[in-house]
Amino acid sequence: MPTTETRGRAHKGSKPSGAAEQRLHARRRRRIYVVLAVSVGVALLLAWRLTYWQLVAREQVLRHRAVAQVRPAQQPPRGTIRDRNGYLLAIDTTEYKLGVSANLVAHAESLAREVAPLIGRPEDELVELFSRNDAYIPIAAGLPYTVGQALINLNNPALVIEPVLKRAYPNGPLAAHVLGFVNEAGTGYGVERTMAKWLDGQVPPNTDAPAAEEIKLGARPFAPMREGVDIILTLDRNVQFMAEQELADAIARYDAEGGTIIVMDPHTGDVLAMANWPSYDPNQYATTPPELFANPATAKQYEPGSVFKAITVASALDSGAISPNLVYRDTGVIEVGGRLIRNWDGGSRGLITISEILGYSVNTAVAWINLQLGVERFVEYVRRFGFGEPTNLGLGEEASGFIKEPGDGLWHPSDVGTNAFGQGIAVTPIQMIDAYTAFLNDGVVVQPRLVKAVVNHGHLEETTPRERSRAIAPETARFMQEVLVNAVELGIENARIEGYRVGGKSGTAEVPIPGGYHPTDTIASFIGFVPAGAPKFLILVKLDKPKGVYRWGSQSAAPTFRRLARRLLTYWNVPPDGSQTAQRP
């Protein structure tokens, strides 16, 4: 061992002894060996790493490389649309476009053999395409999800697979007019169009609203979209289905040309169902005649007929023009503005009360009542009930209805009589049913509501029921509610439901044609609620041009109401509330 002294000398350049010099050399050699060893070690490490990737982890490297070229979708998915219980009504699903980078195809024949049965194209045709030297050749489009996944699993880098989002409506035509659709040009119908900005996620999140990992509004909890907006409608999928079934049944049973059924919660204005006939499947909108797209429940005006009598009577009662104890002497005819008005059956009823006026649907009495009310007050009340302007339900193109007024050039003095029983004015089904909510809400017309909540980037924002207008005083509304129950008990047998007290009014409106009214065509309707003491729902049934005896609302719309109402009472387990008798349907 060299001493410190020796080492010090060596460093200072003094002459070392022979032994010391040898030790110095030996030490230097050791250092060289160490450096060489380190270098060799590093080289070996690199070699091992290369060997590892080339041999040991070869499969892993190949897996990274040998995958199909799956491109991301070109736009994020739209939000889902669900019913009030969370059931899915609309969702974006994936279809696939397939292309091939032919210059990357190693074995055209084997690839064609794998791809041909999946996409349903002849193998030899694909061999020809795959044998070219092009960087991209489109092969197929609109491939369903399962096919797309099978193509991805082929793990062939020559395949170019592009997901394309496609809107799907899993319930087919259910609620088609409410949901609507949006086409590639961005135009469309229904909630899909009116709520497009939300569904496309273009509305900033409201962080004040509570965040939710899972939305539990009803029977079907769901995880909200993180990057978009889900819409929760007021519709109940099952109620909608029942309404559509009953409407289709009524159309067939009464040989009608079309129709609408709306089911509404009279206290919140929630539209629980909105069924129309004819309808369409939004999955197939591209092949559907465009005239079917507009929603007749909101966009189609009609003369309501006798269901409007309740509005006239309520207005006259509320204004004090008539007393609740009115007894009218019906002679079967009355002259208003130079025109003779008769009852629907041509008969006369003698002395009748308000309940009987509505129960027997006496035209002359209602025309007389409107004369007592006066045209100015009539128009004012009609507007208070929400007629003459859109309800702003949120379905886009909505008709305003039409009310004639003195001085507008169309008004005639006889309109005081005919308007009273719903002829000569135009309304939409949603306006008509909404007006009836005043009778069940102490005189307040509620704002009809179609969107119950939005889940905006995970934040739940619920809408709240709103008043639309006050039409009549609470005591008038309560009186009218009882009058409508009496009307069913007295004159609308087909609307009665065993064990339940039902309120409502039927209507049969003539269909206007150029120069007058069609001699036989009618629009038959019924608006009713049940149970009368605490109404759970309000239903409007409207049938266009039913044939034969069914042209009368009491013969077609009323029994349709009864059939649907019975199903809904069962569905909601509503206990009987009275002893109203009825024949089994």
């Binding site: 250092r31 450096v35 690199l46 991301p72 969702i91 996944q149 319930n171 259910l174 059939r563 069962t570």
Partner: protein
């Protein structure tokens, strides 16, 4: 003398800029050579670490891409499964399935209303409260 000569060479080597032809062991054993070797080793080590890091980054990038692809695929699968569930539990299908299995809608069933009278008493098994 030979030993003196080597020492002389060694001392001369300490002077920078001196041009001399040295044997390999001499080059590899001098202090400059030592520093050079050390530097080379360091550079080698840094290069190795750099390569290892690049390799790791590439591997991670591949993994991220694969995970993103998998995430997108899972999202697509999830949406597809949601659609299938909704289709399978749609009221029209449930009704059809129920009818096939002999079920009758509640609103089409016959109802029997049993009215209780004081004479009739409670149905068997209904129990009574004091």
């Amino acid at each position: 003398m030979a030993s003196d000569s080597r020492l002389m060479n060694q001392s001369i080597l300490r002077v920078r800029g001196t041009a001399r032809t040295l044997s390999a062991p001499q080059i590899m054993t001098g202090p400059v050579a030592r520093r050079a070797l050390l530097l080379l080793s360091l550079i080698g080590l840094i290069l190795f670490l750099y390569l290892a890091e690049i390799s790791q980054m590439n591997t991670t990038a591949f993994d991220i891409q694969a995970l993103e692809r998998r995430y997108r695929q899972l999202q697509e699968t999830n949406r597809e499964l949601e659609r299938q569930i909704a289709e399978l539990e749609s009221p029209a299908r449930v009704l059809e399935f129920a009818r096939e299995n002999g079920f009758v809608p509640a609103y089409e069933a016959d109802e029997i209303i049993i009215e209780l009278t004081p004479d009739a008493g409670l149905p068997a098994g209904a129990g009574a409260e004091e």
